[in-house]
Subunit: 600 residues, 2 copies
């Protein structure tokens, strides 16, 4: 971690740079130029200039003051990492930063920003708000931080993974032609793609440029005639093999040619689809300034990428089976650890490493799909707890342990949460666990007509908690990619969530929870896939096929709260867990599984 | 009904008028200048020119052709009422009429419209679409229909009802000051109000200008200093008594002064809030053209009007009790009719009249809150069936009867649907009735946290149907006014429904249904009010207090489908029905109630 003196020096360097460029302020978001959830080390500008290394935030440097905006997850961490002598700490959501900035500066002021690191929507809104106050928003051509970040990590050079059709289930040509024909139908000439997942999905490639997200970073333009320009660090690929893989109508360019190509597209007055919320301002403004007509719209890869094909689903099911073996071995190991009584020095970190160790033994395992949440007792009450942000809590003093983890396998991405008994439990622990599980079961069992959106189903997972006067403050389900991001849209099950209809092949988490501040935390999470059900009644109906098969801790169930249908669900689920996993386990692990899946 | 020759003459007259004004087309919506759900007889221009008298639709006359746009409810009725020799029949939703118009006319064409009868949003969109095709949208100053409609009904002269604070629960002054202080906070000078319900609510007045909606029609402007201009047919009120009632800072103007005042507001360059979706284009364009700054926003009366105060709720409860007596007497009468075997000549119309007759005997009854749906057998499968649109079906041949009706009482508005056994029923009738009732019960019983919107709860009413492979194609709950419209926003429980949070005091219907085409129809509807619940657990929760107490037909229940909690709900509901209604009934009606509410 940077110490405070280093931060002071860096802030001074950036301020000197601003003075030279006659800027009164500069905005430093956490985002990189792809505006995705994860960023590579060389893009951690916010960390470099503030010391704060959380996954979301934004800083603003003025000549004589500075502010760091973070959300509720990071209020403590930000104060620990960034010097209060330099930064005011403000709330990212409750204190809109552009409004704040407008109030700090006089009319005539000039605010710098790097157009590569902000969406076009941000730019248009910020420009309008600042203009109302007579303040100018100035695009910098070179980021002042980059000029002074001398020990900046180099970008990775991990080679592009040519992801076979046997895993992807559809050729890149077929995907491109599908999108291109849609462009033609809409009278569009091209679509700009700037996020990693759409491009990697569309080209059937993967990479190792970011931790947790197995992608190669780049930019792309797909044209209505199905040809495509791909902008990437060309050191990462063998062009001949790449074009063999994706087809000859994909042209590879080094990333620094992106501007020239966008300029040419503009000069040709093309009609270009781009998502102003996810594509950076720089790429779109180059085109627009040169004469292109920008058509704002959702990234057209989102929906086809979300609806997994049969081959992808086979891979996802296989990955979940292996992941189930790893998780089950971990849970068995954990019970043996408790039984042994020998857990001196064991802490949340030890447990997380053990989960990872079991996953590493599984075929096709690549890396965790996100940083494991390994939380004992009160730590589990913080939804986004990371034991690595402080001193991990020691094992042995708590009733409940919550572990939320997942794996990137070559054939699929997993995400599972189990809450387990690791000490004496009270009736209240059992009652709350049971209500969470009841919500999980209700959502798992729903049948719904075509056209139903996630926002409509969310209540099913909450109802057992609501009826007892409780709730949880997060969504119930997020989309999950196929050996891609563990968080993907457009599908989502949440109170304010997506209005997009759930469609066959969409993978989602089902993860209700309950959090008692300073007490304990509970979450029950499986992944499911939307599927056509056998018809009954008169309408074709959709439902969820379960992907995750790992025992829930039946020692935490309050049987008096369960309906006969819920008893049946639990016993049938565990019978199926046993049927699937028992051939893949042996010895103590197998005996543990037998007991863990026995009838309740 | 007009015969086809009359329609031909009228269309020819309007076409001649269009030719004189050099217009190539003219658009005739169903709406009047208030753009509300109900319109007075003198505003039935669409009926006059087409013969079609449904509650929604739009016609377009061109020089040599014409089209009538109606929605799925009215496809049959429109073809019966409007001459096919003159009109093409198009779908109001699936065939956007502006797009259609743009395709019929050459560039340079001129399309006339009456800006009083369209919203500003419609105008802006239509103008943009037509301009894309080089077509001009021309505001007519005098509606060509009005010029030729010589036997046009006069507007009613029913006097304004000064609605007492004892019924309204809050003075008009207090309501106006609340809204005005919000205008001041938002830096606005005024708000334009054009719909009947907001104005009648705000001034604590009612009227008899429209059937089914007890309002006086008018326009109003509320200013940030709490003064108000009210534009109304001044014959309808005694100005002295009116100002005694509403306070001295409301100025009354005849309606024809509206333009002058809006013009002056514009010239004063005021910042005026108006809802471009519900206020007509004419009112807003006058202001804008004269220099006003229009601020588009939701009508600010919507939310306070929807959240009923304690006095309003007392009235609503009392009205429901009387309405329950009327409905129960009707249901008892119906069973006696069946038992008598003497129902020759009885049809859906007879039954509807009988419902109305029992309501008329109740204190404070004014009129039906909407046209009664009285539907036997297959007719009930049409959600919006009206026996008055054709030959009413004769009683005696069907299994089920559906009656959806409501009353306007001086102290509240009711809306109730019951489905009852009127012949031999099959297991399937019982299974479907039971599933509908289970959905009704689930929604009735939900507890939900503050911030929950209707769209989140809708699924609860559908789940028992979905799980069996069925659904219904309408929303589950609409808002209901207080001696005002039986349909009000912003609250709504529906799949695509309102994102507005449900708040204490909001009245809603709970009306799941099931419709078997050409077979039968089922709906179970009570009204409920959102209320704070006694706290359990750790969060304050909201829930529904039932307003409607009338027996459900337990002869239609398939007990094998019910959970213990559902049995309990039905028996507790019926015990409460008995407790409330038995003191108000006697003789055969009381014995019927006793049997109808006995334990199942």
């Amino acid at each position: 971690m940077n110490n405070f003196e280093t931060i002071e020096t860096r802030v001074a360097q950036v301020r000197a740079e601003l003075a030279m460029q006659e800027l009164d302020a500069f905005i430093i978001p956490h985002d990189d130029e792809h505006l995705g959830e994860y960023i590579p080390a060389y893009a951690e500008r916010l960390d470099w200039v503030t010391g704060f290394n959380g996954s979301a935030g934004l800083a603003i440097l003025l000549a004589d003051r500075a502010a760091l905006f973070v959300d509720g997850r990071y209020t403590v961490q930000a104060r620990m990492q960034a010097p209060a002598s330099l930064f005011e700490f403000l709330h990212l959501i409750e204190q809109p930063h552009v409004q704040w900035l407008a109030e700090q500066l006089p009319a005539g002021a000039r605010v710098g920003f790097d157009p590569r690191l902000h969406s076009l929507t941000w730019y248009r809104t910020a420009q309008a708000v600042l203009a109302d106050h007579g303040i100018e928003l100035v695009r910098v051509t070179e980021n002042p931080i980059d000029l002074h970040w001398h020990d900046r990590p180099a970008a990775g050079k991990a080679p592009v993974i040519l992801y076979s059709e046997a895993l992807a289930g559809q050729s890149s040509e077929a995907k491109r032609e599908l999108l291109a024909s849609d462009l033609r139908k809409r009278g569009l000439d091209a679509v700009l793609l700037t996020q990693a997942e759409p491009i990697n999905w569309l080209l059937n490639v993967r990479g190792r440029d970011i931790e947790r997200l197995p992608v190669v970073l780049g930019f792309a333009v797909l044209y209505a005639n199905s040809t495509m320009d791909f902008f990437v660090d060309t050191d990462k690929l063998d062009c001949f093999a790449f074009n063999q893989h994706v087809g000859q109508d994909v042209s590879v360019y080094p990333i620094d040619k992106l501007g020239d190509v966008l300029q040419r597209i503009g000069e040709d007055q093309q009609k270009v689809l781009a998502d102003p919320n996810t594509a950076n301002a720089w790429t779109q403004l180059i085109m627009e300034d040169a004469g292109a007509m920008l058509v704002a719209g959702l990234d057209p890869t989102m929906l086809p990428k979300a609806c997994k094909n049969d081959i992808e689903l086979s891979g996802i099911r296989a990955a979940h089976l292996r992941d189930g073996v790893a998780m089950t071995r971990f849970l068995a190991w954990l019970d043996r650890l408790i039984a042994s009584g020998e857990f001196e020095g064991v802490d949340e970190g030890t447990l997380a490493e053990q989960v990872e160790a079991f996953r590493r033994e599984q075929a096709h395992y690549v890396e965790p799909s996100f940083d494991t949440i390994s939380a004992l007792g009160p730590n589990a009450a913080m939804c986004h707890y990371r034991h690595t942000n402080g001193t991990p809590r020691l094992f042995g003093q708590d009733s409940l342990y919550l572990v939320d983890s997942g794996g990137q396998y070559l054939d699929g991405t997993t995400d599972i949460t189990r809450t387990v008994k690791v000490g004496d439990v009270r009736d209240e622990h059992k009652a709350m666990f049971t209500r969470v599980l009841q919500g999980h079961i209700a959502l798992d069992q729903v049948r719904f007509p075509h056209g139903t959106a996630g926002i409509q189903l969310d209540v099913l997972a909450r109802l057992p908690l609501w009826q007892a006067g409780y709730n949880y403050d997060h969504g119930t389900g997020h989309g999950v990619g196929h050996f891609l991001s563990v968080h993907e849209g457009p599908q989502r099950i949440a109170p304010k969530g997506s209005m997009v209809a759930l469609q066959p092949g969409m993978v989602l988490s089902n993860e209700p929870g309950y959090y008692r501040e300073d007490g304990f935390g509970i979450r029950c999470e499986n992944l499911v896939v939307v599927t056509e059900l056998e018809p009954v009644g008169e309408l074709p109906m959709l439902g969820f096929e379960r992907l995750t098969y790992v025992p829930f801790d039946t020692r935490l169930i309050d049987r008096s709260l369960l309906s006969p249908a819920e008893f049946r669900w639990i016993n049938e689920y565990h019978a199926e867990v046993y049927r699937r996993l028992s051939p893949l386990l042996e010895g103590e692990d197998l005996s543990w599984l037998e007991q863990a899946t026995s009838l309740i």
